[in-house]
């Protein structure tokens, strides 16, 4: 280890050396180090390259405000993470880090040519060029810009880690476990309140961790809090967003600080609802803006103190301080006492308190008041600084290997701003502090501007002898925004701080402006000759620090991304080789291929079986609603287009449901079981929507109706048994129901037993064949299915899926709402005039059917389509024209909604929405496809058994 590790001190565990790698080189640190402190201890000063100019950069800060020292971490396959701040990466054995945004290496980076040419790349330069010739933008300029874009590499493999999430509730949430937060927690711990104290660092203490004098207090406090029953302390947890009604999002990091291949989820999302929130987030020290302030080795004064006191690391052998705030003086006094040489204190203020000067004198530190740093030399590390008096005299060079900046403090008001609390400007601090709260929330300690760091002055840019427009004085280090960029933005007419931010990108880096916002504001304020409050403040937005997609996605991954609904019979389908399709949240068997069959062959076989023998179909996904009460019929009469009041118990009816705008939203066959009881069915995807719509009307428009609605979708398994042999198969299994055609005609319902299980047996058909839909309690679905399969073997029973169901229903001209209709189709358009109660004075959507455009001629109407070539199956979604020879853009008169090969008919069939379709039966329409025009004839939608002879048997 090189000589930058102090001989004693710090909270690192010197008994536990840790080996790690950075850019392929092996180093040693101690347990308790961060990657930054360990590298500094090894004498490393160069950590990364800036975004735009590829300037060499070191560490600016010791915490999450670090803009420069971004690294990538490699934890094995799939566990590559870019853009982590070295100051936040906890060291562990085997840690493997690399620098970013450089090629071929950190020390020799070809991208640094940008720095040489930096004068041609001022803020907003890309707005002004790359426009000629026009085609070069996509071919040359943009690809070149994208090559330079980004910080770290993008991951290329799937992340094998898991993430977890939880909810938590508390009376008091304290964000930040520094002295203010700990005091508040101690105070609350005796009150019986449920307290959650969270802190982003690996241990509580905040600023106290860099102040050994407070360590005994810290230890006592933590002991008391750990013993308190109702206090939960979460470390390595970042409160990243403050949402409505004291809802705080936080992410706890669980394994990144452990060696590779540690068990358990990587991160945990905490969604915390708090009665009261105390924000104790502290304050962030501001850099100073002067030429060369980004040279590696120039850093925040407080960071140098933290590295020394907390990690036992000297950031240099000889440090200089550039201050405008007392706090820097106190820092270097501490550093001096820790044994680090102090080359000089330079303070831009004309005078400071006498006791500061006295202590500096006592420690033998030379002091230059009313002076500023005007230049820094050294490329990968500071080797000297140039200072002069603010009147331009007394230029001199001071050798040093690190320069500390004490620019004053910025209260961390991020979460306060997320909560929409207002801010007020404090001239004395040169910063905004919390004002009026919008939530039940208070800011305490340094984040409220309440600190004991001493006094300071506010400077925008330090005085310089050089032309301010030609120096590189950085404001936003990561995005390479300089003071002159901000001046340029103002010169070009950008006056709002939001405009200046967007034009220069100041504050838009991954640190979200933690160190740059206020300096940017001050510079803009000077340039505009306006007070800071008059040019506004950019809004802090969640997250406080960047959070992984994985943590926010939580458990919602793969099968848990969204639950897949399956029926009781789904397992049988899976075991029997079904190919599934997703329909709304359900998965449904699409077809049951036998060996060697493709979909086409399987569907043809399934269709033949239904038409010639018997098919069995799982219809359990259909939505079901039980409608009960003395006014049930009246209610349905108002909801559906057709009349319901005269429907006799035991009979079924097709119901058509419109939205109030007159367009079809759902349909289904429903049964009246008793005068006051209906069993409704809806489409598979429409169940929840229909129930919600019905509840809405029932509760809010017609609360006088005595009706109850209950979703029963998941109470029943539904097996459709369809085909000429259906009755024969069913008869022996049913008790208490006469299946004869006279006793149980088409469109009726009976209750009884099947295989000893209660059933609601519907005689209905979506295939055009003799058919039954057998409703049994869900748990019996599969058993009944298997029984029917076994008993049906003699009848050639064949399971069929949704694809055959689609073909069979299309042969009969039965529509599927959502496929043949699309939310713009009225009952008349769909040819469902017969389902509209002409004598009913009202039903939902009725008035809209009289609107001018709805009654106008030429609307698109559902019709059948038969291609001239019977072997040609139209593509669903294909567009229809009257004149195929017209130029593009063509006038389209409709489109194909459903199209299949009909094995029954030995030809293709289709359904389409065609303008004026009902009036042009027999006429030819054209379907222009990329490879030729297809001719088809407009026909009736009922292609098979138009008389319904096969149904009424």
């Amino acid at each position: 280890m090189s000589g930058y590790r102090l001989p004693a001190g710090g909270r690192v565990d010197r008994s536990k050396p840790v080996t790690f790698r950075f850019d392929g080189k092996t180093y040693q640190g101690f347990a308790g180090d961060t990657l930054a402190s360990a590298l500094l201890a090894n004498g490393v000063t160069l950590f990364g390259r800036s975004f735009k100019y590829h300037r060499p950069r070191g560490v600016l800060a010791a915490g999450n405000e670090e803009p420069n020292a971004l690294v990538s971490i490699h934890r094995g396959p799939g566990r590559f993470t870019p853009n982590l701040r070295a100051t936040n990466v906890e060291l562990h054995d085997g840690l493997n880090a690399s620098s970013q945004n450089r090629w071929p290496s950190l020390k020799t980076d070809f991208g640094a040519i940008n720095d040489r040419l930096g004068m041609f790349f001022p803020a907003g330069f890309y707005n002004k060029t790359f426009m000629w010739p026009r085609s070069f933008w996509e071919r040359l300029y943009e690809p070149a810009i994208r090559k330079m874009a980004g910080l770290g590499d993008a991951p290329t493999e799937n992340d094998p880690d898991t993430y977890t999430a939880t909810y938590a509730h508390c009376d008091l949430l304290i964000v930040g476990a520094g002295p203010a937060g700990l005091d508040a927690a101690l105070e609350a711990s005796g009150t019986g309140k449920r307290v959650i104290l969270i802190d982003e660092q690996d241990e509580a203490g905040g600023g106290a961790l860099a102040d050994p004098a407070l360590w005994p207090w810290l230890e006592r406090s933590m002991k008391a809090l750990n013993a308190a029953a109702k206090v939960t302390i979460l470390t390595r947890t970042t409160a990243f967003g403050y949402y409505h009604d004291n809802f705080i999002g936080a992410v706890e990091r669980l394994t990144d600080h452990l060696p590779e291949n540690s068990d358990g989820p990587r991160e945990k999302l905490w969604r915390i609802r708090a009665g009261e929130v105390l924000l104790a987030q502290g304050a962030i020290e501001r850099p100073l803006v002067f030429d060369g302030n980004d040279t590696p080795g120039v850093m925040l004064s407080s960071a140098a103190k933290t590295f020394a006191n907390r990690y036992g690391v000297a950031v240099g052998k000889s440090l200089a301080l550039m201050a405008v705030h007392d706090s820097g003086w106190h820092d270097v006094f501490a550093l001096k006492k820790a044994g680090i040489a102090i080359a000089a204190i330079i303070d831009a203020r004309t005078d400071v308190d006498g006791d500061l000067k006295a202590e500096a004198a006592a420690l033998g530190i030379s002091v230059h008041l009313d002076h500023s740093v005007i230049g820094v030399s050294g490329r990968h590390q500071v080797n000297s600084i140039e200072i002069c008096a603010n009147n331009g005299n007394a230029r001199r060079t001071i050798p040093c290997d690190a320069l500390l900046m004490a620019g004053g403090w910025t209260p961390s008001v991020h979460l306060w701003s997320h909560s929409k609390g207002s801010l007020k400007w404090r001239d004395d601090l040169g910063a905004y502090v919390p004002d009026q709260a919008n939530e039940n929330c208070r800011s305490i300690g340094a984040c409220a501007g309440d600190w004991d760091f001493g006094k300071g002055a506010v400077f925008d840019v330090l005085p310089t002898l050089r032309d301010q427009a030609r120096i590189k004085a950085f404001v936003d280090f990561q995005n390479d925004v300089t003071a002159k960029d901000i001046n340029l933005a103002v010169r070009e007419g950008f006056r709002s701080i939001e405009h200046i931010k967007r034009y220069t990108t100041n504050g838009m880096a991954t640190d979200q402006g933690k160190t740059s916002n206020l300096n940017g504001l001050q510079i803009a304020s000077t340039a505009l000759a306006k007070a800071v409050p008059d040019i506004g403040l950019t809004t802090f937005r969640p997250p406080y620090t960047p959070q992984t997609f994985g943590a926010l996605a939580g458990h919602a991954k793969g099968a848990l991304f969204q639950a897949t609904r399956t029926t009781n019979i789904d397992g049988w389908a899976e075991e029997n080789g079904a190919v599934f399709e997703l329909v709304a949240q359900w998965r449904r068997a699409r077809y049951f291929p036998q060996p060697g069959e493709d979909m086409h062959a399987a569907v043809n076989r399934e269709c033949r079986a239904v038409r010639g023998g018997v098919g069995i179909f799982d219809a359990s996904t259909l939505g079901k609603i039980e409608v009960v009460g003395p006014d049930a019929a009246e209610f349905l009469n108002r909801m559906y287009t057709n009349p319901w009041k005269a429907l006799e118990p035991g009979r079924c009816r097709y119901g058509l449901l419109l939205k109030e705008d007159g367009f079809i939203t759902d349909d289904g066959v429903s049964a009246r079981l008793a005068p006051d009881r209906f069993h409704l069915t809806t489409t598979t995807g429409g169940a929840a929507r229909v129930l919600n719509m019905m509840e809405d009307y029932l509760q809010t428009e017609w609360p006088d109706l005595n009706v109850w609605l209950t979703s029963t979708t998941e109470q029943y398994a539904v097996i459709a048994l369809q085909g000429p042999n259906a009755r024969k198969l069913l008869e022996p299994l049913v008790q208490g129901i006469d299946l004869s055609p006279e006793a149980f005609p088409h469109m009726t319902v009976r209750e009884g037993l099947i295989c000893g299980v209660p059933t609601r047996l519907f005689r209905v058909s979506f295939t055009g064949e003799l058919g039954f839909e057998i409703n049994v309690p869900t748990a019996y679905g599969r058993a009944l299915w298997e029984r029917l399969m076994a008993d049906g073997a003699d009848y050639g029973i064949t399971p069929y899926g949704t694809e055959a169901m689609h073909v069979l229903r299309a042969e009969k001209g039965f529509i599927i709402v959502g496929q043949d209709t699309d939310g713009t189709v009225t009952p008349y358009d769909a040819g469902l005039d017969w389902a509209v109660g002409k004598k009913k004075p009202d039903f939902v959507g009725r008035r809209s059917l009289a609107r001018p455009d709805i009654v106008a001629a030429g609307r698109k109407q559902l019709v059948g389509l038969l291609t001239e070539d019977p072997n040609m199956v139209l593509e669903e979604g294909a567009q229809i024209v009257a004149d195929p020879k017209q130029p593009v853009p063509m006038t389209m008169i409709g489109h194909v909604t459903s199209s299949y090969w009909s094995e029954t008919l030995g030809r293709s069939i289709a359904i389409g929405l065609v303008a004026n379709g009902h009036a042009i039966m027999g006429e030819t329409i054209y379907v222009p496809m990329p490879d030729g025009v297809i001719r088809a004839t407009v026909t009736s939608m009922v292609f098979y058994d138009p008389e319904g002879a096969r149904l009424h048997v």
């Binding site: 409505h244 509840e695 809405d696 509760q699």
Partner: protein
């Protein structure tokens, strides 16, 4: 995620239990046929959409299932009150 007081459950519950249901106190006419096209258009589509105090409906979908009314400030998202369907406008 806002907290919403359900006037039926008399509990304050998180938003994910509820479904927003649009502007409140838009009564469906008893006799829609008596409405002109313009009146029907207003009933169907025109909404107050105020910046500030807003009367709106929510349904406690994953709770009691009831629709109720609320007064909320659309600038702050804070509820002034919630009340049962059928109660007079507040």
């Amino acid at each position: 995620m806002i907290l919403i007081h359900c006037p039926y459950c008399d509990e304050q519950r998180p938003e994910i239990e509820f479904a927003y249901a649009g502007q409140a106190h838009i009564a469906r006419p008893a006799n829609p046929d008596s409405y002109s096209d313009e009146e029907w258009e207003r009933f169907l589509f025109f909404r107050a959409n105020p910046r500030g105090r807003h009367h709106e409906r929510w349904r406690h979908t994953h709770g009691c299932g009831r629709f109720f009314n609320a007064v909320r400030d659309t600038v702050t998202d804070k509820f002034e009150t919630t009340y049962k369907a059928g109660e007079p406008r507040k």
